[in-house]
């Protein structure tokens, strides 16, 4: 056996356990989550006859007797209340009124058998409004309704994609809020992080040690501890408000917690190291004599900064911004503990749909959006990190 082949096999054997582990406990969950976003199997599974009977229906003409018979036949076959409940919930989410309609129909079907005339049970069964969702849901095990809903869109009766009216749209606002808060945090991180990194590079010895330790210490400290600390500081009678009042700057406590101010302050604190460290490492590689050189060539300090130091730190700023923004859009704990109800970001909504409402479709759909956004940002970041040249 030659060396290369042997090396390859040994390498693969060493990598394989982790590969399998992550395939099972990382990739599979993500795939399942994404599947949840597009899968809609309940109607297709429970109403196979109806699916066939409505396959060629134009969805505009009145329901035919065959369709009604097929539905009655399918419903009669449903023995478990759990399944009936899932189906009803699914149909009711597309058209309200299904809850009463289904319970009345189910009891009729169970009393009178599969040959019951649905029009006689409830005259709503003559209304195409109630047949359209059934035909739609039974036709396929997959749906784009969750993904559309995640972007505040839906399909109308004709199957065209329409934007929901303001009153029914919440997700776009949450996405916009997520990006806005993350952008704000990124901005603050640049405003504090860039001068901080420049300061840390410009000093030497113990001073630089202190500045770096001040960045690394929070990084190593538990996120929960840091969030708890901000919770304590930002309270109405917390240290910050008391300090400001003692100084006479304010006479009533500022509202710092359970609102956006608190979220932005705490998240900036948590994510600042991710901005400072990339800029610091980029600036460290800039030769120390460039700024003196610019001065000797006649550049006043501000122009020298603008023409020389800033262009050279752009790489670090971009890397840091991507890292901060990427981490920020996925944040859960800090907004959940420091923010108010109107400050929650996309992660909170996903968690709400998953654990609170057991709506896996919506949780998955929003999850897909967050995942795609994060991976895109990560891809750009990786590209920058590997593209060492970048014109320099």
């Amino acid at each position: 056996m030659n060396v290369a082949l042997r090396g390859r096999l040994v390498g693969l054997a060493l990598v394989a356990p982790l590969l399998l582990f992550l395939a099972g406990f990382f990739v599979w969950p993500l795939v399942t989550m994404m599947q949840g976003a597009v899968s809609d199997p309940i109607a297709a599974r429970t109403l196979p006859t109806t699916a066939r009977a409505t396959a060629n229906w134009d969805r505009q003409s009145p329901p035919t007797p065959e369709m009604k018979a097929a539905l009655a036949h399918d419903l009669a076959a449903l023995k478990q209340d759990q399944v009936v409940g899932d189906l009803t919930r699914r149909l009711n989410s597309a058209q309200s009124g299904f809850r009463t309609l289904m319970s009345r129909t189910m009891s009729a079907v169970r009393e009178q058998g599969p040959d019951v005339d649905l029009s006689a049970v409830d005259k709503r069964w003559n209304d195409i409004k109630f047949w359209q969702p059934i035909a739609e849901a039974a036709a396929s095990r997959y749906t784009d309704r969750y993904l559309l809903a995640a972007l505040d869109m839906d399909r109308d009766a004709a199957g065209d994609i329409v934007t929901l009216p303001e009153s029914q749209s919440a997700n776009k606002a949450i996405l916009a809020r997520t990006f806005f808060v993350s952008g704000l945090v990124t901005l603050f991180c640049i405003v504090i992080g860039l001068p901080y990194a420049m300061l840390a590079v410009s000093v030497t010895g113990w001073l630089r040690g202190v500045l770096l330790a001040a960045v690394l210490l929070p990084l190593w400290t538990s996120l929960l501890v840091r969030t708890a600390a901000w919770f304590i500081l930002l309270q109405d009678n917390g240290l910050i408000n008391r300090g400001l009042m003692a100084l006479g700057l304010i006479d009533r406590p500022l509202a710092l917690i359970f609102n956006r101010t608190g979220v932005v302050i705490a998240m900036t604190h948590v994510l600042l190291p991710f901005m400072v460290l990339p800029i610091f490492s980029v600036l460290l590689a800039v030769p120390r004599n460039l700024m003196p050189a610019a001065a000797s060539l006649g550049a006043p300090p501000l122009r020298a900064f603008w023409r020389v130091l800033l262009p050279l730190s752009v790489r670090g700023i971009v890397s840091g911004s991507l890292l901060v923004f990427m981490a920020a859009i996925g944040y859960y704990i800090t907004p959940a503990l420091i923010g108010g109800p109107t400050d929650q970001m996309i992660s909170y909504v996903i968690a709400f749909y998953a654990t609170g409402a057991a709506n896996w479709g919506m949780a998955g759909a929003l999850g897909v959006i967050l995942l795609v956004a994060t991976l895109l940002l990560y891809a750009v970041y990786q590209r920058l990190a590997s593209d060492k040249a970048m014109g320099i």
Binding site: R6, L19, I192
Partner: protein, 263 residues
């Protein structure tokens, strides 16, 4: 002028970064029931509470069990993979590395939703093993990065020298590569433990009431009934991190002296 503003900015920024961490520590020793200043008098009552109240004691034990399990699992898998990625002949090494680092990037809530769905299907939901597995997924990138870094720091000429002196590949690995990589393994393990200790989001999704960790317990008590027990728990957290970090530094230092001066 410029100098003064630099000093003022530096002091304020350091204060912003460090002050919150320092502010929480004295509150762990308050005798009051309020998590706030001023501290009327100092006592250990909240540490007593942590160690005696059932929810807190249980959560500390759970954190140690789960943290220990996740550390072992992540360290073993991550170290093996880092060694594998080092092979020059491994195909798709770049792709593998990217995949292995992704858990650090994917938002925890997204992963949590997926894990909740999957773990139910294979009876891992609300089990210790399930939480250990979930934490390991997050911890693996840290192990990989640390071990890879220390492997990358090994001068290949040292291994060639060992081979030229008559050592077989396995002997080279056992006597040269592994001892030199060990500091990275140790710090990787420390990072893995710290990651598990601090994990909340995945725990929310995959753990049952019996697997409540200290972090999870702190999370819900900040939300529901805030008390100085949180500051005491934070104190334990900081001390725990310092101990693990200090121990790993100590072990690394011992390893280094052993490497530099073989017996």
């Amino acid at each position: 002028m410029l100098r003064t503003s630099r000093i003022v900015f530096g002091v304020l920024a350091v204060l912003f970064l460090v002050a919150p961490l320092i502010a929480i520590l004295p509150l762990a020793f308050t005798s009051s029931v309020f998590l706030n200043y001023p501290v009327p008098s100092y006592s250990l009552r909240w540490f007593v509470e942590l160690l005696t109240a059932d929810v807190w004691r249980r959560s500390i034990i759970n954190s140690l069990i789960i943290g220990g399990g996740a550390t072992v699992l992540a360290t073993v898998l991550g170290t093996l993979a880092a060694l594998g990625l080092r092979s020059r002949h491994l195909p798709f090494a770049g792709l593998f590395r990217t995949i292995f680092l992704l858990p650090m990037v994917v938002p925890a809530v997204v992963l949590g939703v997926g894990m909740q769905l999957c773990f139910v299907q294979i009876d891992l939901a609300s089990t210790y093993l399930g939480v250990i597995v979930a934490h390991s997924v997050l911890a693996i990138p840290f192990v990989l990065v640390n071990v890879s870094a220390s492997l990358g720091g090994i001068d290949p000429r040292v291994e060639r020298a060992a081979a030229s002196l008559g050592a077989s590949p396995t002997t080279v690995f056992r006597r040269v590569t592994l001892p030199l990589a060990l500091p990275g393994v140790v710090s990787g393990a420390a990072f893995a433990f710290a990651t598990s200790l601090d994990e909340v989001v995945l725990t929310l999704f995959v753990a049952g009431p019996n697997q409540r960790t200290l972090a999870r317990q702190m999370f819900s008590s900040i939300r529901e009934n805030i008390s100085p027990a949180i500051a005491a728990a934070a104190f334990l957290f900081i001390v725990g991190t310092l101990i693990v970090g200090g121990m790993s530094l100590l072990v690394r230092a011992r390893l280094r002296t052993r490497v530099v001066m073989p017996e």
